[in-house]
């Protein structure tokens, strides 16, 4: 298990480095120098010079690359060209909002998705199963930002039930909870569909396996078979997909946060794109990549705990 964990984490680190290198290389595709490009109207040469110096853009390329990596390893993702605040600070400031959104979205999707999936298994082959199948696929199909927009129009503007913008007042749980409902609904609905389909498929696959027949042959109760023998296996693809899903959800947060003007990683990055604030764009992307890799790696380690076969693949 330890070997597996070390290898899996090592792989994540290597991937992160590759991504960092790629993101950094993109800076040199920018026509003109990124510093002055970023400062915009009425920017003074002094400001530009200061920025160039702070971003280290006057150094030779290899020094820049080295600095970049050295800094990133210390958690220094560079500085916002406008506010001069460290990018990491900005990210950490808004990240909780996105994280809450992601967790709530995935959370309700998980509860409903697993429930629908189980219903489909129970009523397998019936009209209910077919209807749930069509419903799930439809949920997968509809773009989350369209749902976001329409739910904003209906529930916030038309019915005025829930706030239309923002993430609620810090410290006020009630207002934060109200603010997260619509965005989480919009993002999560796709995942209700995915999870329902996935749970149905993996439950059916596992329940048809030979060892379930063995457990039945030994007279174990159906409840015990499902909870102890089937679920543990059926949950494995769900855990794997949840990790990937977390990444995808954080990605779709870009649109949904913008629609709801909700402070978060998505609004941070879109406003940075609008300003060509490349350090923020790059820093945010790297941060989210690292976070995604963290989640996926953690999920893989969880899967390895759930499934002893996986960790032994690496034993060699």
């Amino acid at each position: 298990m330890l070997t597996y964990a070390v290898k899996r984490i090592g792989l994540a680190v290597v991937i992160l480095f590759t991504v960092m290198l790629a993101m950094y290389a993109m800076v040199f595709l920018v026509p003109g120098d990124p510093a002055s490009l970023a400062l915009g109207p009425r920017a003074t040469p002094a400001l530009k010079a200061e920025l160039i110096a702070r971003m280290g853009l006057d150094q030779p390329v290899q020094v820049q690359v080295w600095n970049f990596f050295a800094n990133a390893l210390q958690g220094n993702l560079g500085y916002d060209v406008w506010s001069k605040k460290p990018v990491l600070d900005q990210i950490l400031e808004v990240f909780p909002n996105t994280l809450i959104l992601g967790v709530v979205a995935l959370g309700w999707a998980l509860v409903l998705g697993v429930a629908l999936g189980c219903l489909a298994v129970v009523w397998r082959g019936t009209l209910v199963d077919t209807a749930l199948g069509i419903l799930s696929v439809s949920m997968i199909a509809v773009p989350s930002f369209v749902i976001a927009l329409y739910s904003l129009l209906v529930f916030a503007v038309w019915l005025n039930w829930l706030p239309a913008v923002g993430a609620g007042t810090p410290g006020d749980w009630g207002s934060q909870a109200r603010a997260v409902i619509l965005p989480a609904f919009a993002i999560g609905i796709t995942w209700v569909g995915y999870l329902a389909r996935l749970v149905r498929a993996s439950m059916l696959e596992v329940m048809g396996a030979n060892h379930i027949r063995t457990a039945r042959a030994f007279g174990l109760s159906e409840a015990r078979i499902v909870t102890r023998y089937a679920l543990r296996l059926a949950i494995i693809p769900t855990v794997a997909i949840l990790a990937v899903g977390f990444g995808a959800i954080l990605s779709s947060a870009v649109f949904v946060e913008t629609v709801f003007s909700r402070p978060g990683i998505g609004t941070l990055i879109t406003s940075a794109v609008a300003k060509r604030n490349y350090p923020v764009v790059m820093g945010t992307t790297l941060f989210m990549t690292a976070f995604y890799l963290f989640v996926v790696t953690a999920a893989d380690l969880i899967i390895a705990r759930l499934d002893p076969r996986v960790r032994d693949v690496f034993r060699g």
Binding site: K7, G10, L11, V14, F314, G316
Partner: protein, 322 residues
């Protein structure tokens, strides 16, 4: 008589899969070592061994599908790609899987002609090839998954025959077949051998397949040849304790001849836990101290019979319960 196919001191190592990224050099695992034997034209050579003995790897090495060291000669000359490909053919253990799933049978069996760009005039028709293995021409329009187990084997045989090879390597030719059909395939192989002078290398773990078909057999244990010799002699008087155990382990359908005793205990060790000395010593009823430390070599102990055992020539049949 020159040997059709000569194997001398063959060795195969395999690379173990590392992680997802090749960190350093992945470990290598020895599969086969010191394999030497020859195959004569027109004979059926049986290669027997349990799963994990390396018999399929040996077949693949002989066909140049896995990298190997040692000397391989086909028709007296060093292996050439073209010579080998046109002179040999392989029948796989799972016949359906060995046919391209999206290719009709008719196209599949003339595939060798297409590969070697044989002029039309020299080609046999698909119907003709099917006829050679006793199948109706209508089968040419089927897809592999539409064939029964016996039909699929015959189709593979037809494909193997296309280039008129001198040697056909058959991997577990009867695996998965009911006894009532098993004979069909073995008879077909016998017919082809007789009518076309084909040599067969039959790879199997099932001794009973070889009993009636093989001219000579070789016994493989954990990547080492432990015994070779004429089939009749080996069956009648196995020299290696492993061979003897294999023969003795065959269950007998006659209840009146039930074995009282176990011929052999334990299991074949994994390739990662290859025993020192003689690879068989962990299960050998006769093992002595020397067997644990010193690896025996394969020696010819009588004309046409070789043995890899320190206790060479000891007649082990006495011990073999019948």
């Amino acid at each position: 008589m020159t040997a059709l196919y000569q194997v001398e001191d063959l060795r195969v190592d395999m690379q173990l899969p590392g992680g997802l990224i090749p960190f350093g050099k992945p470990p290598r695992l020895n599969i086969l070592e010191g394999i030497s034997f020859e195959l004569n034209p027109g004979e059926t050579f049986g290669l027997v061994g349990e799963s994990g003995s390396g018999k399929t790897t040996l077949a693949r090495a002989m066909l140049g599908l896995v990298p190997a060291t040692g000397t391989l000669r086909f028709r007296g000359a060093a292996l050439t790609e073209a010579g080998l490909r046109r002179g040999t053919a392989m029948m796989f253990q799972d016949p359906v899987a060995s046919l391209s799933p999206r290719m009709q049978v008719g196209a599949a069996i003339i595939e060798p002609y297409a590969i070697h760009r044989i002029p039309k005039a020299e080609r046999a028709s698909a119907a003709d090839l099917l006829a050679r293995v006793g199948l109706p021409p209508a089968l040419a329009a089927r897809y592999p998954h539409e064939l029964s187990g016996g039909q699929a084997r015959r189709v593979c045989a037809a494909r193997a025959l296309a280039l008129n090879p001198a040697l056909v390597i058959a991997d577990e030719p009867t695996a998965g077949l009911d006894v009532s059909i098993q004979g069909d395939i073995l008879n077909l192989m016998a017919d082809l051998k007789r009518d076309r002078g084909l040599a067969f290398l039959v790879i199997t773990h099932n001794l009973s397949v070889l009993r009636h078909t093989a001219d000579r057999i070789a016994v493989l244990y954990l990547g080492r040849l432990v015994e070779t010799g004429p089939a009749a002699e080996v069956f009648a008087r196995p020299l290696h304790p492993y061979t003897a155990s294999l023969i003795a382990s065959e269950p007998d359908p006659d209840p009146r001849r039930r074995r009282a005793d176990l011929a052999i205990r334990g299991e074949i060790p994994g390739l990662l836990r290859r025993p020192s000395g003689c690879v068989f010593h962990t299960r050998c009823p006769l093992a002595v101290a020397r067997c644990r430390s010193e690896a025996p070599i394969l020696r010819e102990i009588a004309p046409g019979r070789s043995l890899r055992c320190h206790l060479a020539g000891q007649d082990t049949t006495e011990r073999t319960p019948t």
